[in-house]
């Protein structure tokens, strides 16, 4: 049953939100202890919310297009009065005094939030192993990581604990775990979804987006959370796009670029899946063009200077004064140092130091300035490509899900798992991962669709075609 059908059943009174929520909570209670996708389950609040939706239906009111649909939120999305820690010790126990804009929009649409999902601390990581609460396991093979940083949100949907979840994607943190867990994950155009209430990591790259089991479910959720927000100065001026209405428009006549630079260094089974996806498009009347965009390979280095630079500034606010944890020490500076040293994990410290270094006198031009110019170079290369093709097709991740612990001691090896997803963040473009095939060990393989800014409608149409031709 799709989430749209579920909401219709609840709005018509055929099913109750209470019954659906109870079933969801029971599944989480049974399945989550072995996977650890959730860091907080909001049992009482979810049931209370479900009852209010059922009461609205009984009064003849319309509780919204996602009435009674259970959803999980990444732990970096602020919810008024609910624990929000970014899986960091430094924010343990923090209850935000306001809702993120996406949380308000979900409420207006009738969603029942059931809890917060595990993540790499402050969204820094690609495996969800950098969590102060311990790792999440991949539902398809519990000896493997779910990807990251939104690993809990991906795993919760992949394990059918919830039909929908939200994550955030700064360099691939939605698409990479979606690919590794075998679900749909979307990074929207920068500015399409308000970042108000998303705890900041790298503000010029962060974007909130949906996880779902189907393209249609993801489209409906993205419609609900999109649209201009005066409380986010980087929010695009337009209203939410119409996605669901165009899912079945087909790809006849569409020019799809098979991007060879988004296949370089990928495992053979991944390359094979992407090439077969191209055949599915061709079979539906799209024109396939092989296209090289060699500039994309510089994205990784640019990203791992720009994102830490922005993070080093954004995370300066965790000083033990206004929220979160404080470790008392002699004077203010000693208290700041003691708090941050005890509160942040290794990966966060690494990125703060890397960013501080890249921004420091003597290195600013060589590292940060050079990375900003490289960012422009990549945007211009994308622009030239989109002069020739409507969409790009490539791998989401170079490999399928890796074993827990395999890359945790080698940051550079971990960062390489984001090599195919980073360019879209640098350009502010939308991209999504669609589950398409299974690898030799039965592990999911996702393929990635990329488009120019504001091309979500076309992306979702193409994703619908891929989904129909998938063998996963």
């Amino acid at each position: 049953m799709s989430v749209a059908e579920l909401a219709v059943a609840i709005r018509s009174g055929e099913r109750s939100a209470r019954e659906v929520t109870e079933a969801t909570l029971a599944t989480i209670a049974t399945d989550d202890p072995s996977l650890h996708a959730f860091v907080d389950v909001q049992i009482d609040q979810a049931l209370e919310r479900a009852d209010s939706i059922d009461a609205a239906v009984a009064r003849g009111e319309d509780p919204g297009v996602l009435a009674g649909v259970p959803l999980a939120l990444k732990d970096n999305l602020c919810q008024h009065g609910e624990l929000t820690s970014c899986a960091s010790k430094i924010l343990q126990g923090w209850r935000p005094p306001y809702d993120a804009t996406v949380v308000s929009k979900l409420r207006e649409a009738g969603v029942v939030v059931v809890g917060k999902t595990n993540m790499d601390e402050f969204a820094m990581g690609s495996s969800t192993e950098n969590s102060a609460y311990g790792p999440t396991r991949n539902p398809r093979d519990p000896s493997r990581v779910p990807g990251g940083s939104s690993g809990g949100s991906a795993a919760a949907v992949a394990a059918s604990m919830v039909p929908l979840s939200l994550g955030s994607d700064t360099g691939g943190s939605i698409r990479q775990p979606a690919a590794l867990c075998g679900v749909v994950g979307v990074k929207p155009t920068y500015g399409l979804v308000s970042r108000y209430g998303l705890v900041a990591f790298a503000s010029s790259l962060d974007q909130i987006g949906p996880f779902a089991t189907t393209v249609a479910d993801a489209a409906l959720l993205l419609e609900v959370i999109s649209g201009h927000d005066p409380r986010d100065s980087t929010s695009l001026p337009e209203e939410a796009p119409s996605l669901v209405a165009h899912l079945d428009d087909g790809v006849a006549g569409l020019r799809v670029g098979l991007c060879t630079d988004l296949l370089d260094g990928c495992d053979d089974e991944v390359v094979h899946a992407v090439r077969r996806a191209a055949e599915v498009f061709a079979g539906q009347g799209a024109e396939i063009v092989e296209i090289a965009i060699p500039e994309l390979r510089f994205g990784l280095s640019a990203y791992y200077l720009l994102a830490p630079a922005e993070a080093s500034s954004n995370l300066a606010r965790y000083d033990g004064v206004r929220y979160g944890v404080r470790v008392e020490a002699g004077d203010v500076e000693a208290m700041n140092v003691a708090t941050r040293t005890a509160g942040f994990g290794d990966e966060v410290k690494r990125r703060i130091m890397l960013g501080t270094y890249a921004l420091s006198a003597g290195y600013f031009d060589a590292y940060y300035g050079q990375a900003q110019r490289t960012r422009t170079m990549i945007i211009e290369a994308f622009d030239r490509a989109y002069g020739q093709v409507d969409l790009l097709l490539g791998a989401t991740t170079p490999t399928t899900a890796f074993e827990l612990g395999a890359k945790i001691d080698d940051p550079m090896a971990m960062y390489l798992s984001d090599v195919c997803t980073i360019p879209s963040n640098l350009a502010g473009h939308p991209a999504m991962s669609v589950p398409f095939a299974r690898g030799a060990e039965g592990l999911p393989i996702g393929v990635q669709l990329l488009g120019p800014g504001r091309s979500e409608e076309r992306l979702f149409t193409a994703a619908t075609v891929l989904e129909a031709g998938a063998s996963s």
Binding site: S204, T234, Q370, R373, M377, G428
Partner: protein
Amino acid sequence: MAELEPISADEVRHVARLARLELSDDEVKRFTSQLGSILGHAADIAALDVAAIPPTAHPFGLVNVLRADVVTASLDRSEVLSQAPKVVEQRFGVPRIAGEAP
């Protein structure tokens, strides 16, 4: 672009101090090697001739976005303070920052 020197242990200590982090000797050693490896990867972009390309700080170049100057409710003061580690007289409490008057 000139060849960049690898980051040294002293530079890691300096950067940690700027970022208000304290590192043990073992951590200095480990982070020096890890940061060196990440910065070494950036040699690929250091070698690019991009001097003529303008920098990008924001993907769509929005500037001076202003909203209407309308008064709206602020966050509840006591609720905000309830989340602070220390509160003194309805304010955020911090260790003493000034010494005695000379």
